[in-house]
Symmetry: C2
Subunit: 586 residues, 2 copies
Amino acid sequence: MLRTHHCGALNEKHSNEEVTLSGWVQKVRNKGFIVWVDIRDRYGVTQLVFDEERSPEWVFKKSLELGREDVIQIRGKVIERESKNPKMSSGGIEILVGDLKVLNAAKTPPFTIENETDGGDELRMQYRYLDLRRSPVRENLIFRHKVTMAVRNFLSQADFIDVETPYLIKSTPEGARDFVVPSRMNSGQFYALPQSPQTFKQLLMIAGFDKYFQIVKCFRDEDLRADRQPEFTQIDCEMTFVEQEDILFQFEAMIQHLLKKIKGVELGAFPRMTFTEAIQQYGNDKPDIRFGMAFGELNELAQNKGFNVFDSQELVVGIAVPGGASMSRKEIDAWIDLVKQPQIGATGLVWVKCNEDGSYKSTVDKFFGADDLTQWAEATGARAGDLIFVMAGAAHATRKQLSALRMEIAEQMGLRKADEFAAVWVTDFPLLEWDEDNQRYHAMHHPFTAPKKEDMGLLDSDPVKAKANAYDLVLNGNEIGGGSIRIHDKSLQEKMFNLLGFSEQEAKDQFGFLMDALQFGAPPHGGIALGLDRLVAILGGSEIIRDFIAFPKNNGGRDVMIDAPAALTLEQLEELSLKTLNKKTF
Amino acid sequence: MLRTHHCGALNEKHSNEEVTLSGWVQKVRNKGFIVWVDIRDRYGVTQLVFDEERSPEWVFKKSLELGREDVIQIRGKVIERESKNPKMSSGGIEILVGDLKVLNAAKTPPFTIENETDGGDELRMQYRYLDLRRSPVRENLIFRHKVTMAVRNFLSQADFIDVETPYLIKSTPEGARDFVVPSRMNSGQFYALPQSPQTFKQLLMIAGFDKYFQIVKCFRDEDLRADRQPEFTQIDCEMTFVEQEDILFQFEAMIQHLLKKIKGVELGAFPRMTFTEAIQQYGNDKPDIRFGMAFGELNELAQNKGFNVFDSQELVVGIAVPGGASMSRKEIDAWIDLVKQPQIGATGLVWVKCNEDGSYKSTVDKFFGADDLTQWAEATGARAGDLIFVMAGAAHATRKQLSALRMEIAEQMGLRKADEFAAVWVTDFPLLEWDEDNQRYHAMHHPFTAPKKEDMGLLDSDPVKAKANAYDLVLNGNEIGGGSIRIHDKSLQEKMFNLLGFSEQEAKDQFGFLMDALQFGAPPHGGIALGLDRLVAILGGSEIIRDFIAFPKNNGGRDVMIDAPAALTLEQLEELSLKTLNKKTF
């Protein structure tokens, strides 16, 4: 080793020891006759002293040439510091340097390698290896490692087997777009990269593996939105001879374990709500339930009281903003402006101040008296000092708009605390959704999800009303996982493919192996997949998944550091029997 | 849960308990008035009893219809068996069934689901999910899981951080062929799937991560040989501020830990040999050292004694076959025939029997007396009762031929024992090899490998003589890992690319990001990558890696179960701006 200790290892106990350290120059302070250099590695920072009198002359001279990020190796004696820094593990000592070797000199980096850097986003991505040197970024990735180890050990101890499923599989044009991989040996044919190992984990259950997990990269060729990656990591799990309740129990225990082990947070039993309840109470199937502000439906209380704006609408619904009664007119108008912006698209807001003295002040005083408003306050849970915002309109759109407002208010009021955690199970999702554009059903979860037993009849009569044995796990307003009980009966799977518009031939071509497998003793089974990137980010107190990925791609799907994707050579294309075409030639 | 216990959980202690089991019908024995059914899951097999008198009539009747691999759920009472089976964990009890539910009936499987099956290779691959139901196959994958968990926990405890590197990277036509992934959003451009995360792990060291590991899929588009997969799994590791010795120490400890933990085998310090020694002593850079039979070079002893066949050749070399003196003439001739076959390609074998009475019998008695042959015996380590095989020819080819013979003899004599383990480090590999066909150098390990310091001058004068700081880990005659100290100096890396025939522009296009990174404080670093598939197979007592992969591809790179690769739809190709061409159109 080019060191006897790392840069966070030494303290007063090592006084007078001769040590060798290697690391990066973090900072140089030159006082003329004495030079202090902070040397850094992953484990910490240690202060080096180069002294005109106490260091060999050539060593002292060489120290004058040291610059930021130079990689050096030093030998020296541990001495106690006069002014100690209790914040650093090695803050009680410094090293009087007797020998110095520059292992590799560094050009001045394009941005400072400090916790707060002066580098812009693009620059830091281009030099990601320098960005990763910054302590907060590195700590994010060490945190990710700890989370994955905890997940692996928890599941392994619960008898789950980690099985690697293949990456070179077959394209199934249903659902999101696949990334594909041309096969050289099978000219004209392609593999696809998995969007998830869904069918393989089902086959493992059919194979009797009983409990499976894998932390696995998945791929989706979608038009990228902010903070969405073309490759992402999933904690993928499946269990046999289970019902929905067993899966919720198992993975509730896992999340509780993680929060306890990683964050020291004890979470009680996770609340449950159905998809319908989530939409009604929060306008959202991934509600952040940390800060109340549940929806109060006001149709019965607010309609037919002469206020036309309400009377004509499908839904009147409000939320209470804690402490909002003290908002100025200007502040309230800012919220009204916000909801009118196209990304929310509401027509306006009615507001009611619940004053501390029990009186009310609202934009609709003309139509509603104190008795009415007291009922509104009850319905929205508003207390003295709060403000009620009310929206009216078509139910679905209005709920969505109010949800956006609710989240934005919580964000701005600091109610979405990074170190506070609340999980919730959302259950009873619809099995199908109707796609107006293409005049067909889509599977809300995926085509392998089992309908609820009691809704089986609806598949023939009114499929869109059928509920699925599907559930989402929501943490702090983010969907961190979703799963379902799967179909294990061949004829039901056929019916499902049929509902989804597959011809018999298409079903056979794409999923023939699964249909075959269902005939040879397929047990009841179900599972869940958790998005690791997001889970880690939320546990780490952030919602920006890119901060928890070592080498992320930008929103255009590019790795700007290595400059990929890139053109191939003509030889490569020829070997693959491929020709790239200008879009316009089609 | 659809069970109270799994099928390996119950024993005499549970007598008289009412239990619910779910599983697969393994076997049905119908005695007319009593039916025994073995029910199986991942954990074990439990015997069920359906009794005309003691079971409800409808349950007994239904039991008569059960067939192999039906998935059933039963409720019943645990009773002690009359004739116990001590080999099974649940062999002391059986379940008197009171309720039976067929969860999913099975068609008769295309082969028997038993430890020894009647299914051929292709059939078992097509129905891999049924093949995986067989206990030995499933146990292989559970074994793999145990190995990977042990590796992860070992490395994690040694401060290695598991960092996920990207799968969608850039093609680098140097070396083996890449699998590529067309980018829809960047028309005409492609990602490549990684052959290894080599440059990324180096960037992580430059980023100060200090110790990195990842168990990661890698991809190589090679013409497949038997038992080679287009996607394979690597235990990928890298360390900073280390020299070769530190890496050997760390990973020797890991393999020792695995063997101890997984197999209960204590391995002492691993022997070391240089590449040159391995070739001289075993004709092979991945020697199986479990059974001696090291080469004895006989030039000095056997040349210039009047035997023309030897005199004219570059190398005369022999091995001692333990106990081989008792071979019949016919047996010896079979070995001679073997080495003459084209896959070995030798011209013949000279043999010497070292008889128990101290006398010799050889094919060259005319030229060599007992004194000569005694010296041969010493050189090859032959003892009384052994047989010496001698080959002569061009050094490189002859060593290769003799190595093939040595391995085949060991195989046939049962000297390559699956439960015996011997590891060896092979070091001091050449840095470069000369490619006669293309008239250029290839990197023997890869272009990032550092030459030995003392050989730096040879890079200018005689590059092919330069040795590298590269090492292989060999277990039981298989290369299970290889690594090197990397180049951390930009100008040396440039020189290396230059030697390998990269133009400046090519080096910049393909590895510009790495060259940049080397300027910003790149520390000395090195690492190793172990082939997980092979490591697991060897630890599991096999050399067939396919048996330790859940869903392997065949030698044509096809997944015959899902039938991939396959053609894309025209729409998919259009979106990707791609056209597939008939090979002949080029």
